[in-house]
Symmetry: C2
Subunit: 651 residues, 2 copies
């Protein structure tokens, strides 16, 4: 059903491609992604987070997974099927995501490479030990005393786990080279192809993930059958082949074939992972119809089902998308993993189309979901990212496995702890999401301190050094550190939110508009380009169809959504009732150390009878005051607090 | 721990008290409830619904419970523990609720009494057959091949089921007289007392219900130990004695002792049933502190956590209350059972305190939740009662057991089908929620065609006939059909929403204010009182702290919340986008056949990019038009539609 993928990166070399370390390597694309071997984040906003991630977060993940037995499930001395198995049915996948993060980490930095290499070797041996002779590997199903294989396709997560195993092995191969983990993953993938192939089980995994994983494995190995199996899974979906369940087929995206749907729906992470797999198969097979269908679904989802933060999935029930414009700030679910998944999808669409709006979507979710989720020390996190906290939440003890997903305070670990290892693999591989190249030159999509070294398609070397304290300020300086002769193009994304951006350099100084700006010339080593993005805080008004935030405004500053947190307001903590805040939009927001201030009043609440009145409820006296706003990602870092992103307007 | 309850209705007579048929019979109270033997609904809004309920709905329940095996679980020929058991772990309770409804029905009407008496006898024999020698009866737990008794206190629902068994037996005894069902229930209750008594299992049932049931059984039988056990369950709660669960202790109300809480929280039905049991034990034991605590919790819940419809519980996740003022109209959960439970609690507080605001609360939930839930033919129903339907939902096939609770179309049955038998028992016993008496006279709390015959505390007979087409109009005529000599008081509730009410009769004509109006005189047979409640449609504005409906108004007409349904608007169904509707509140709503019209415009939607704008989004041309509103309870009766209760104001 597909053309050959034999032209992929297939390598039999024991050493990785020095330009490698790319999360996604489409063979057909508009833009060629640069890998960790070509883009090194050297500091700044993301550099700090990468360091914490590569040390404390990975250590924390390993500690908890050992502590809870998720790693030792693979080596349970009591043997398969013992009652000793611990963790939820998908706990294997967390080990794999951690492995993937460790693999990217060894490709990103030399500092911790030795430490994580030994972890990878040890865990690989454990997983290999648990693998059945036919390639199946899962500690929750199969074998004596366990539920039989594939008896719970809706929620068993077996194919999902296998997908994450494959992704870990692919990351390992792309940063270190083929190793025993890749052998395990290939055997597991071969088992999947044998079991779910054209003549096998005529169904799909309830939680997608195997699909993009199989495509990456096909790209890595050049094996067509993995791509064929991924395409088969994508095509099978949407025909109600999964057993009926009270969650409903839309929850599993099994209600409508992928190519016929017009918006993402159901469980947000499932929908987004499936979309990633669909884009991957579409680009490899030249299936333009499928690619355009997924792109249109994502566009509509961005336009109607996405929070201002870039977060997706508004409902706690079913961790699912709501109907169009159902985006409550209260108890916004906005699962961290859905943020990661949205970034994965946007990146694939950016590579496929070259459209800068996908890089805008990545920026939004990076600064406002992914940066929000993890604590400064990297050892606690949000699973759900609410946009409105009405009641302060007590912190979770550092040794406490949290059972609840509600927001308010970051927890060190959850019974379902997908998000932290998911963020960890994203941060470790972040260098692979920043820069691309094509026949004309190089494109910078995200701005952080970084060093870029690559070759153009014609072989000419290019080196760039990016220096910026973005998003604290909007000044980005790009220095050419290496260049071949003759002209090539340096393309810079100009974010969708900006107004009054200016580009200056050897070619002079000029205004640039949102989208991209292309500088094509024969660059010289040492020359600098300077992009100035004005960062004044600005009002943002919601579409009137979003009922939940009618009559409210938000304030953004550069790529950052701001919020009012009780901690920052004048008055005793108990006296600051953010839900009685009314903002005067007649006074422009004023810049203030990486945040803003606005004018507003705390209106005393209305009566205490039924909250419904025959006329506009009475309003008490209130004096205007200055309200401090801070970046949303910073909230809940200074003890229990209340918080609002959307601020009611004074009327 | 409690005073004697021996003065209760305890009867050894094989025939019921002719004044009986009361759902609740507090021995200490401000108002004495009149029973089905004293209040007969003869027609009108509720008379029609009672007839459908007593015939079609009960038949429908019996059919489905047989069809799904919930009744035959009790007589499974394969014996206890066979794999044949069907239904969820709480399916026994549905059989009991149906039995309770049948019992009230035999007390309400003679028309179907014979039919339901035979069902009751048959089901009673089946249940008795399944009862263990020690009194335990549950088809999901205990016995060979089943989970052991009381091994899942959080979700096993064993005590909950026993509570509903007891309530069914109490209803049977109060309408027919003590019979074998009462023997079964007493043995079950004795088992509970033995197992969970002071020296028994030191915990509670995850889903309250046993508490009010035991108090009613104590009232019926005069057995102190049932009351003591109920009080013990109430006191034990709130000390985290239930196992930790991801739902969290607040879900089970096991986070804070009942007497120390200040608002209802967690699973709404659980919270409300527990509150009923707490009021019941408080009034029987003279525990004023506990009574006042629950009353204050309910007041605060009404003021901050209750929909305009009287519905409670805003979240699908956990079927739970939200924080204060978290009342999204979109996907409002507002479970039908929570409406029933709120009415049960309000009735108890009304009897305890005499405060008419509790009758107001009952009216609101009766007309806007309970009347909404059931289809006209009584054979399909809403489990959840959303206040905003954005996308039309296809009808559920009449032979289809629905797995989903989302709104949009009533379903004939659900995998979890608590709501229909719960409404059935409520409608069958509705006559017992309308009228009370005290030393001064008689109080009418709800208005529907009815005949009342009772005796005052001093023995004088009183007869009243109520005629009204309320809530179609607001004219209520009360004719005295029987009276003893000398003065007594007739008290009429004047609803909280009314303005300009007038009372006229032999004593002249006068304006009356919301609350109650008392007519004290020596009535004569044949004289009439006429209460006129103006029913003009009116605006209702929400408390500004309810984010979800900021900038919106609702329209109410008498006790009815109105809504805009797409079906009623001019234009093709596909062209009517209620979410783009903007209402002109400068033009008063106009009366229209049991509904209203308002002026509004359908504003074309804003753009289709990101739904966030740097300035107020552009608005297209739109012409004012008349928007038809119908009672909310009528919505979704004419095919798939969209609907809004809260209408955005034009600004």
């Amino acid at each position: 059903m597909t053309e050959s993928i034999a032209q992929a990166e297939a390598t039999s070399s024991p050493l990785p491609d020095p330009t490698g370390g790319r999360p996604v390597t489409p063979t057909r694309r508009t833009l060629r992604p640069l890998g960790l071997g070509e883009v090194r984040v050297t500091g700044g906003f993301w550099g700090r987070r990468q360091r914490v991630n590569g040390d404390a977060t990975l250590q924390h993940c390993r500690h908890w997974m050992d502590h809870l037995g998720w790693t030792t499930n693979f080596t349970d001395p009591a043997g398969p099927g013992s009652a000793q198995r611990r963790g939820r049915e998908f706990s294997d996948s967390e080990v794999y995501k951690m492995l993937e993060a460790m693999a990217w980490e060894t490709g990103r930095s030399t500092e911790f490479a030795q430490r994580w290499n030994s972890h990878i070797d040890e865990l690989t041996a454990a997983i290999a030990n648990a693998q059945a002779p036919d390639g199946y590997v899962n500690t929750a199903f199969g074998g004596h005393g366990r539920r039989p294989r594939y008896t719970d396709l809706n929620f068993g997560h077996e194919l999902y786990c296998t997908g994450h195993l494959i992704q870990a092995a692919v990351a390992r191969a792309r940063t270190y080279g083929p190793d025993p983990l890749l052998d395990v993953a290939r055997r597991a993938a071969d088992h999947v192809c044998a079991t779910f192939g054209p003549h096998g089980i005529q169904s799909v995994g309830g939680h997608p993930e195997i699909e993009p994983a199989l495509v990456e494995l096909a790209r890595l190995t050049g094996e067509q059958r993995y791509l064929d199996q991924a395409a088969l899974f994508v095509e099978r979906r949407g025909h109600r082949r999964l057993p009926e369940h009270e969650a409903g087929w839309p929850y599993f995206q099994d209600d409508i074939p992928v190519r016929h749907a017009n918006v993402l729906r159901g469980h947000a992470v499932r929908a987004l992972y499936l979309s990633c797999g669909a884009v991957d198969t579409a680009v490899e097979t030249g299936d333009t119809e499928l690619l355009e269908a997924v792109a249109a679904q994502y566009e509509r989802t961005l336009a109607r089902r996405t929070y201002i933060t870039g977060g997706m999935g508004s409902h706690h029930a079913g961790e699912s998308f709501g109907d169009d414009f159902v985006l409550p700030a209260d108890r916004a679910y906005s699962e961290t993993c859905a943020g990661v998944a949205s970034m994965m999808l946007a990146w694939r669409l950016l590579l496929a189309t070259g459209e800068p709006r996908y890089a805008d979507a990545i920026e939004r979710v990076l600064y406002n979901v992914i940066a929000t989720s993890v604590a400064d020390d990297g050892t606690s996190f949000f699973y759900a990212n609410t946009l409105h906290q009405r009641v302060p939440t007590e912190p979770v003890a550092p040794d406490k496995e949290s059972l609840r997903f509600g927001g308010g305070s970051r927890a060190p670990w959850f019974e379902v702890s997908c998000c932290l290892p998911n963020v960890a693999r994203t941060l470790a591989s972040l260098g692979g999401y920043l820069v691309t190249a094509d026949a004309e030159g190089v494109q910078l999509h995200q701005y952080t301190d970084a060093e870029v070294r690559t070759r153009l398609d014609d072989g000419r070397p290019v080196g760039l050094q990016v220096r910026t304290d973005y998003p604290e300020t909007g000044t980005i300086v790009i220095r050419v550190t290496e260049t071949g002769d003759g002209p090539w193009s340096l393309t810079l994304r100009v974010p969708e939110w900006v107004s009054g951006a200016v580009l200056s350099g050897a070619v002079g100084r000029r205004s640039v508009e949102p989208g991209t700006v292309v500088v094509r010339r024969a660059f010289t080593v040492g020359e600098e380009l300077r992009l100035e993005l004005p960062m004044s805080p600005r009002w943002t008004f919601p579409d009137p169809r979003i009922d939940a935030v009618r009559g409210c405004v938000a304030v953004e500053r550069g790529p950052l959504v701001l919020c009012a947190e009780s901690t920052d307001q004048d008055g005793a903590p108990d006296a600051v009732d953010l839900d009685s805040l009314r903002i005067d939009t007649g006074v422009r927001p004023r810049d203030a150390a990486s945040g803003a201030t606005v004018s507003g009043r705390f209106q005393p609440p209305a009566g205490d009878g039924l909250p419904y009145y025959p006329s506009q409820p009475p309003r008490g006296e209130a004096h205007p005051q200055s309200i401090r706003l801070v970046p949303y990602y910073r909230w809940a870092r200074r003890g229990p607090s209340t918080m609002r992103v959307w601020l009611p307007k004074d009327d």
